[in-house]
């Protein structure tokens, strides 16, 4: 079995909001996993592979085998570690395990509640990072350092950044599940008029922070044929890491092209060029990261991302529709499981059931990244 013989067969996203005071991380994680299984038409006891958060209480915090109390039978395969239980990394590792014959049905996902309050800045790390925090660095200005390098080197403009933010936020405005549902529409000027956080990022250039959960279920394409939905195969995958998150200062010269090699690997495996992919569900912690990813994915040349987005390429009616659900900018950012929501949206698009459906979408790229371009993961998905 190869990676492309494995499919996503079930998806679930919980409610998403800035805070979910009536929920716990465990209840969101359990709703996500059980919801994705119900969506697939699989019973909990059929799961034998788990890469999902176990936040406790009960079981043992951080230990995926705790899921046996929910799922029933013994497990054949687990993967632990924060980023292994979410998104493209979780999906590619679970798919690799299934294709290697280590397990048959795997779940990836989790949930987060009770962590954020209003007005807090979000630093991806929970511990103090010695040579980062002392100078007032956190995720927004660290990403801003990379973006500033691109503006300076290629003449990318704040208006081009704002075009990304307005486009994706306006998608989210039309998504009833989005945290920012009904907000907007936003113009480029609205984005530029919002308060400056760290040059070149205005408030509306940067994603929301919130809570919620999500999960996906994978099994072999062969087994998937008997399930409820058309199987969505893992056509290709890749990851790339530049170093430990936030340890070394990020600059465009050193991390700006992060993801290019991963994209080549994943798209090469899929036998596709980026231009042939119908829809993109990619990490958008800020407007610039979309411009950077359009370039590293190969949709345009390095330095051309600004004019590329200004030409309408990433809009719902554009050549390369990007984040139709509103992405992290307007749909949801919830810690780690926003990564899984990228898979959920790509699968819905390929099933033809998405809220802002791209007509006839047959292939999608779902990608995660983070920590100011310290890591990049993507999967290429397609109808099997």
């Amino acid at each position: 079995m190869a990676l492309r013989d494995v499919a996503v067969v079930g998806v679930h996203a919980t409610e998403q909001a800035r805070t979910l005071p009536h929920r716990t991380s465990l209840d969101l994680a359990q709703e996500s996993v059980l919801g994705a299984l119900a969506d697939a038409g699989l019973e909990p006891h059929e799961v034998d592979g788990v890469a999902a958060d176990w936040p406790g209480p009960g079981g043992r915090r951080g230990e995926p085998a705790s899921w046996t109390s929910v799922l029933g039978g013994p497990l054949s395969w687990v993967s632990d570690g924060l980023l292994d239980a979410a998104g493209a990394r979780g999906v590619m590792k679970a798919a690799a395990a299934i294709s290697a014959g280590l397990c048959d049905v795997a779940v990836v996902g989790g949930g987060l509640a009770g962590r954020f309050g209003r007005g807090q800045t979000v630093n991806g790390a929970e511990d103090f990072i010695e040579f980062t925090d002392v100078w007032g660095a956190y995720v927004v200005p660290l990403f801003a350092l990379v973006a500033q390098g691109h503006l300076q080197r290629f003449g990318t403009t704040p208006e081009q950044l704002a075009t990304v933010a307005a486009t994706i936020r306006n998608n989210g405005s039309k998504n009833p599940e989005a945290v920012m549902s009904g907000r907007g529409p936003y113009t480029v000027d609205d984005v530029l008029a919002s308060p400056m956080l760290a040059t070149p990022f205005h408030l509306l250039d940067v994603c929301i922070a919130g809570e919620g959960g999500g999960a996906v279920v994978l099994t072999s394409v062969e087994r998937a044929r008997d399930l409820r939905h058309p199987p969505i195969a893992i056509l290709g995958a890749g990851m790339e890491l530049s170093g430990a998150a936030y340890a070394a200062p990020p600059e465009y010269d050193t991390v700006g092209r992060l993801g290019a090699r991963a994209a080549q690997r994943a798209l090469g495996m899929a036998g596709l060029t980026a231009q042939q992919v119908d829809v993109f569900s990619v990490y958008d912690p800020n407007s610039f990261e979309i411009i950077r990813q359009m370039e590293v994915l190969g949709l345009c040349e390095e330095g051309e991302g600004g004019p590329f987005v200004e030409d309408g390429n990433i809009g719902l009616d554009g050549k390369h529709p990007t984040n139709p659900d509103g992405g992290c900018l307007a749909y949801a950012w919830n810690g780690t499981q926003q990564m899984t929501l990228k898979i959920v949206e790509a699968v819905r698009q390929l099933r033809g059931t998405a809220v802002n459906q791209v007509p006839g979408a047959e292939t999608a790229v779902a990608a995660n990244a983070g920590s100011a371009a310290a890591h990049y993961e993507l999967v290429v998905l397609g109808r099997a």
Binding site: E130, F131, V134, W135, M196, P249, Y252
Partner: protein, 141 residues
């Protein structure tokens, strides 16, 4: 502004001890003489374990910067400049640029180290533009 400084680790103790004396030091590999920052046990250039902290001239050039208007904690007065600087003699570090209008900062700008004394007899190295800064502080010994 008072900053929360971390407890030194076995790798960083030499850095913070020197900073308290207003000296900027960074690791320099004994085998290949590469200078690097932040400190790691093995030299990122050649992979060997032996290095010593060496004094720098304190002169550097801004390679990337952002003007931060929203701080992660009330310890920081906004706006402030977060920057990456390339030290003369090698090595790059994250830092703040102080003593200048943030709007006047550019990449390529020469800067030199100054120290923000903290309440606990420690000090944090930051940089200010060479052209408009005060004369270089004499090194304490």
């Amino acid at each position: 502004m008072g900053r929360r400084l971390p407890s030194a680790t076995e790798l960083s103790r030499g850095f913070w001890d020197a900073a308290a004396e207003h000296r900027l030091v960074i690791p320099c590999c004994l085998a290949c003489e590469a200078r690097f920052f932040p400190p790691e046990r093995l030299c990122p250039t050649c992979g060997t374990a032996g290095w010593d902290y060496v004094d720098t001239s304190g002169a550097a050039t801004i390679t990337s910067y952002t003007v931060v208007h929203r701080a992660p904690s009330p310890d920081f007065e906004t706006p402030y400049v977060l920057a990456v600087v390339a030290l003369d003699g090698g090595g790059r570090m994250l830092t703040n640029v102080v003593g200048a209008d943030p709007a006047a900062i550019t990449t390529g700008m020469p800067v030199r180290v100054v120290f923000l004394d903290q309440p606990d007899d420690r000090a944090l190295p930051v940089f200010e533009p060479t052209a408009i800064g005060r004369p270089h502080e004499p090194e304490k010994e």
